[in-house]
């Protein structure tokens, strides 16, 4: 049982970080970022290239993943989403654009990094073993701790820094924030860059454990959507809750339902549908986003 809980926490920390980026972009721009999973895979490949090919330390790879993805995110916002949002009659048009970006990133990843599964050597060796009740490799613990640290850093940044406050104001009410002198364009760009950066960092973290491959993008996006549906779209606390809940459900499901075959996700999806029928806006979301 302790093992299941520990696995759930480990998964949840990563998931929450992915969901945070997605929910940040959603709350600022009202854009459902289909390309989030692809950004995450891209980040993983950047870390892989830096660590495995150039032989630089893991931390450098992680930082570079974040930085490169932040630049990509900022460029995508400035040159793609902003003009389309301005010109389009219906705001859903951004979904087509987001899907286009997802395809584009898939193509770039395929051309730049190939379609093979990539991973890097273990960063920390050894396994923590508490009386065989709880077995956890040290590198997984490290990744979980790093993810939690990133989440705490993100919350502190959003809560106490000036750009963080501006972004929260934008998420609450765009017009009011603009009237108070918030530079809407600038902080939308910053928010998008920040969201993409989080995706890149998680990708970088994961490449150290399981590795990444091209096909992971789409399923990751779907998982991220599920997390923000559980927690409520556009709410930071909701994204964190959603991430940990999904991680826990996956971990419990994989061990409890293993006897019935591969139905964990079927059960999770079904319960999600029922949950949403009762509480459409998720745990902490505002009604109708």
């Amino acid at each position: 049982m302790e093992q299941i809980l520990a696995n759930g926490l480990y998964l949840g920390a990563q998931y929450a970080l992915i969901a945070l980026g997605l929910t940040l972009i959603f709350s600022l721009m009202n854009v459902l970022n289909f390309a989030h999973g692809q950004m995450y895979v891209f980040g993983g490949f950047v870390t892989y290239t830096v660590v495995a090919q150039f032989g630089l330390p893991f931390v450098v790879g992680l930082l570079l993943s974040g930085a490169i993805l932040a630049v990509i995110g900022a460029l995508i916002e400035k040159f793609l989403f902003r003009p389309v949002i301005r010109k389009s009659k219906r705001e859903e048009s951004t979904m087509l654009l987001a899907a286009g970006v997802a395809f584009f990133l898939d193509a770039v990843i395929l051309l730049a990094f190939g379609e093979k599964q990539r991973g890097i050597p273990k960063i920390v060796d050894g396994v923590m073993n508490l009386n065989f009740r709880l077995i956890m490799p040290y590198d997984r613990i490290m990744v979980a701790v790093l993810a939690v640290a990133a989440i705490i850093g993100f919350i502190l940044y959003m809560q106490y820094s000036k750009p963080g406050r501006a972004m929260r104001a934008l998420a609450q009410d765009r017009v009011a924030a603009q009237l108070m002198g918030v530079d809407v364009d600038r902080y939308s760009m910053l928010g998008f860059a920040f969201g993409a950066m989080l995706a890149g960092v998680v990708g970088g973290l994961l490449v150290a454990i399981t590795g990444v491959n091209l096909g992971m993008g789409g399923p990751t996006s779907i998982k991220a959507f599920m997390m923000i549906m559980i927690g409520g779209a556009g709410v930071i606390s909701g994204a964190i809750a959603g991430g940990f809940i999904l991680g826990m459900m996956e971990s419990v499901g994989l061990s409890v339902l293993a006897a019935y075959g591969n139905i964990t996700y079927l059960v999770i999806f079904a319960s999600l549908l029922i949950f949403l029928a009762i509480r459409p806006q998720g745990l902490m979301g505002k009604p109708w986003g």
């Binding site: 959603f26 009202n30 459902l32 289909f34 793609l80 003009p83 389309v84 010109k87 389009s88 009659k89 219906r90 859903e92 048009s93 979904m95 087509l96 654009l97 899907a99 286009g100 970006v101 395809f103 584009f104 898939d106 193509a107 770039v108 395929l110 051309l111 789409g218 779907i222 959507f225 599920m226 923000i228 549906m229 779209a233 075959g261 591969n262 139905i263 996700y265 079927l266 999806f269 079904a270 999600l272 549908l273 949403l276 029928a277 459409p280 806006q281 109708w288 986003g289």
Partner: protein, 323 residues
Amino acid sequence: MTTKNLLGLGTFLITVFVLVPVGISVSGRWDFYYTLTSVALLSIGAAGVWLTFYIGRINIGQGAYALIGGYVSAVLVVKADVSFWLTLPLAGLFCTTVSVLIGLPILRLRGVYFAMVTLVLTEVTRLSALALPVTNGAKGITSIPLPGELSILGLTIIPDFATMQNPKLAFYLLAAFLMVVSYAVLWRIVNSRLGHLCRSLQQNEELAASIGVNVAYLRVLAYGISSFYGGIAGAVFVAISQSIYPSSFVVTDSVNFMLYCFLGGLGYVSGPMLGTLLLYFGWNLLSVAKEYQLLVYASVMIALMLAVPNGVLSLFDRKGDRK
């Protein structure tokens, strides 16, 4: 209908049923039949998605209904030995029933919430197809017989596909016919009282409800019709490929259905048809670009979105706003 509209419709019908087959037999590019048949079928599914857009819901779950429709038809044909022609409407009706049951709770959601749930629904359907015994799991159902003879009172309407010299042409004509009928029905719906009511939902659901529009009934109805289209498209697809697997329709297909609608234009009935033709045909033509296929395709898609964010058809109504 004005004379201009009639002329346009006539040209379209002649192109679809006469010019395309003649053109293909002259040029000898028989592979285009398969592409164009797929375009016709996908545009039926996209028409359904478009209808849900029309009531103001983003539907990324059409792949689920295409898969369900395909499985209903396949299971009935293979296990119960029912004629394909009977399974076609049955597949549609089954999808409608499922969509009503699912739609009642989830249609209360709006915006991205609805979009995300429907996306999840596609994944649920795929997993269910893997887990249920009747679908034969990951192995799928294969070697499904071609559609047999359809006759009423001894009068043959459609001959047995297996005895035909050119089943490709027959499938093309079937798909094109179904497409024309679906779009005619869609056009009729949009230009009827029901269509006006749907538009009121798209604009403001609370206002519509306060005036006395039965919002809950309307949106379930629209979603049901939409799923019917998806089921039909899936069933014919299965008949053509003679096989179905849980991965026949996945999330990518659901997203594509939505993209076809967007690209063609959400304000126009023929939008999804044009969008499907452009994207699907474009994708196939781009196969000359080899490994850069996806890159070029995505770039063109992004460029189109930047140039015409309201759909390709919006190019034609610069002067007067038709909608």
